[in-house]
């Protein structure tokens, strides 16, 4: 299935203020792979994720999602394939009620009403959020907000899931159920996080980004048990691998 492939070829990106955030990033993710992106603050993780859905376009180099090259012309098409979960759920939940918010994407895909309703209900029940249906987002707790934000993206049935710090602001139990949820998503996914235990649990592959470059790329168990590599990138061993 070639259409779930993500490929970055020598991607450079410079922000308008001159900061070079990505300096030649290359990697290839095949269908069904689950990849963690880790790195120090400001290493370029969020910038990288924003290239997946065309929120940012590379200054040079090429991003390929499935069989499409990312350009201003194809980003609409690419957004149908890639579901992005933002760092702050308040940025993502913009509709007045949970139901309307989850229905927003499917309605924009042009699905008929019965179908939209079905998608919304199934996405919400996947995140255990069916009871929140008629609530306005500002009356939800942080954990509920992020569950709903994920449901809103799942309802579009994306081929690829891109998440930026999904577990930030979650209490341990919500975090645990998020991990369970992520494991049920069968398609390719890319998760940027400082929560290395979450990466270890959810992703079989891990990419370390440092100063806008790929510093290391390999199986999560190898990368996340390499103390020297991690410490050179402002990281440390996942708690589950720390022996005292």
């Amino acid at each position: 299935m070639s259409h779930h492939i993500i490929e970055f070829k020598e991607v450079f990106f410079r922000y308008p203020d001159g900061t070079a955030a990505l300096r030649g990033v290359s990697f290839r993710i095949v269908h069904g792979e689950s990849v963690g992106v880790v790195g120090a603050n400001g290493a370029g993780k969020s910038t990288l994720l924003q290239h997946l859905n065309g929120c940012l376009l590379p200054t040079s180099g090429q991003v390929t999602i499935g069989d499409l090259n990312l350009t201003a012309a194809t980003r609409g098409e690419i957004r149908r394939k890639v579901g992005s979960v933002f760092q702050n759920p308040d940025d993502q939940l913009f509709m007045p009620t949970v139901f309307d918010d989850v229905a927003f994407g499917p309605l924009n895909l042009g699905l008929d009403k019965a179908h939209v309703r079905e998608r919304v209900e199934s996405a919400l029940s996947r995140v255990n959020g069916l009871a929140l249906k008629n609530k306005p987002p500002h009356h939800l707790s942080a954990g509920e907000k992020s569950a709903v934000a994920i449901a809103a993206v799942m309802a579009m049935e994306p081929d690829i899931l891109a998440m930026d710090e999904p577990a930030a602001n979650l209490d341990p139990r919500s975090r645990r159920s998020l991990i369970g949820l992520l494991k049920t998503f069968q398609h390719s996914k890319l998760v940027a996080s400082h929560d290395l235990d979450l990466i270890l649990d959810v992703c079989e592959r891990c990419i370390v980004i440092g100063e806008g470059r790929v510093v290391a790329d390999g199986p999560s168990e190898d990368i996340l048990s390499n103390r020297t590599l991690l410490e050179a990138n402002n990281l440390e061993l996942p708690l589950s691998l720390q022996r005292r």
């Binding site: 913009f94 939209v116 993206v153």
Partner: protein, 269 residues
């Protein structure tokens, strides 16, 4: 006036709309039209006509009672915004000093009469609008407006205003708290610091707007905010609009107050 309590009061108006009463279950479009008619009728009264406005109090009182909305809550909200109306009307007693009536030996000037009419109109219109939101929910009103043919851009603006009012208030609350913790008596409390805080809030808001817009694009936004249409106009709704229209028309074009007064006098005799 405390920032925090105001903030939570805002949520209360919102929560009132979750109730299920006869008023809540009316079609939002019917309620929007009825409220619109009410506002136009009230505003159309000439500026010295206070007596004619009195019967209109029945509308908010009925809506609040049937909708189980605490009247005290609505009155408090009306009071909070009342300074605007007071400022608009406060000069008429001084400018318009013609005596139009003498009550219990005190001359009443036309200015006082028009001042009273401004206040009454203000109380009627604001409470009607608040009751509309309290019995319909803000999104319900927006949805109704959209279905009644309001341009999508206008409706989206209203929806965002409602959605992000709470987020903005929280943001402001955080900034004020952080400032309060490190500003001590006399220091760091000047206007320049305040101006900078407002600037920070503006920049954060712009950043957020950018991120929200990106999130919308990611989910296929193309100018209109679609919503599953679940509204159905029942005969009850039509009857409600018809009765409201008749009531408003009667109160506007016939001297109802005078009629009741004469009737009362007749019984008295």
């Amino acid at each position: 006036m405390n920032f925090h309590t105001q903030y939570f009061d805002l949520g209360r108006l919102d929560r009132l709309s979750y109730r299920r009463t006869a008023v809540h279950s009316l079609d939002p479009r019917a309620k929007v039209i009825a409220t619109g008619l009410f506002l136009v009728t009230v505003v159309s009264f000439p500026k010295y006509d206070v007596a004619g406005l009195v019967p209109f109090l029945l509308f908010p009182v009925l809506a609040a009672t049937l909708g189980e909305i605490p009247i005290g809550f609505i009155l408090r909200k009306v009071l909070i915004v009342s300074p605007f109306a007071v400022f608009v009307g406060i000069f008429s007693p001084f400018l318009d000093t013609r005596t139009v009536a003498v009550i219990a030996g005190l001359p009443v000037s036309a200015g006082w009469l028009s001042f009273a009419s401004i206040l009454l109109k203000f109380a009627l219109t604001v409470s009607a609008a608040l009751l509309l939101v309290a019995t319909t929910s803000f999104p319900g009103v927006c949805h109704a407006l959209r279905r009644l043919g309001c341009p999508p851009i206008f409706v989206s603006q209203l929806l965002f205003l409602y959605r992000y009012l709470f987020v903005l208030a929280e943001e402001a609350m955080r900034i004020v708290r952080a400032w309060d913790m490190r500003a001590f008596a006399g220091r760091g409390r000047g206007a320049t610091v305040f101006a900078r805080l407002v600037g920070v809030l503006l920049i954060r808001t712009l950043d957020r707007a950018e991120r929200i817009y990106q999130a919308m694009l990611c989910r296929g936004f193309a100018g209109d905010i679609p919503r599953l249409g679940t509204l159905r106009l029942r005969s009850v709704d039509l009857v409600f609009v018809a009765i409201t229209a008749v009531f408003l028309g009667a109160c506007r074009f016939f001297p109802v107050t005078e009629g009741i007064g004469l009737l009362a006098q007749g019984i008295w005799r």
